[in-house]
Symmetry: C2
Subunit: 128 residues, 2 copies
Amino acid sequence: MAHPITRAGDTSADRREQARDLIRDVLERIGDKWSVVVICQLSDTTRRFNELRRMSAPITQRMLSTTLRGLERDGLVTRTVHDTTPPRVDYALTPRGLSLLKVVRDLAGWAEDNASGILESRTAFDAR
Amino acid sequence: MAHPITRAGDTSADRREQARDLIRDVLERIGDKWSVVVICQLSDTTRRFNELRRMSAPITQRMLSTTLRGLERDGLVTRTVHDTTPPRVDYALTPRGLSLLKVVRDLAGWAEDNASGILESRTAFDAR
DNA sequence: CAGCATCCCTCTCGATACTG
DNA sequence: CAGTATCGAGAGGGATGCTG
């Protein structure tokens, strides 16, 4: 089945609304303050907690922890605990997280291409 | 110039941090509760205020107004006032808004493709 | 019709301190 | 090293009422 969340009996309006909620759901995941940052730091390799913390500065410990939980919950990153002293925990992107990274990079590309134009528009708008 | 926001003298770390802030900036625009919904409603044609309101239900008047202001400020939609009685205002996507729509559709596609998997991951995670 | 003004509440996020 | 616990400020957003 192509779109398992649609159900028989849905009107087309229902389906449009479901699609909207779906996009919003994903946007809430990557639209928070730190998720995309963390995903990008994991783009090429596995990283440890404090390594991510440094690379994602000025993220706080609490927010990195919270963000990683959320990403893990959605199956976007894996959390691997090595039972050593001192403790060591590795984080890495799952295949799903990697596929999201691609989309995020498109978004980043659009952002770069349009950043100066957007800033100009804002300045012009605020001048009125 | 390909990337006008980078400045001479930036370290590569500076540039990475700028790129991150840039993506976050865009995500704050489309990551709010209604922007993407409104953009999608304008995908094929010009629409009037209350038309958008009905199509984007259950958006409130206040939030539609706020959202449209934000999109207009960033040069993503145009606002055209027709001086008639009763008053009539048309909203439409700009070329920039249209280019964003393409990216948003990719995101929506990813969301659809991964929705069921994400929901499964969440259920499994929460079961622990 | 197309809004703006006001009130209020929730939820995110940051700061700080503490732990196995 | 890799977190958790608690507190508080602030922004986002909903409900309602009013206006040109």
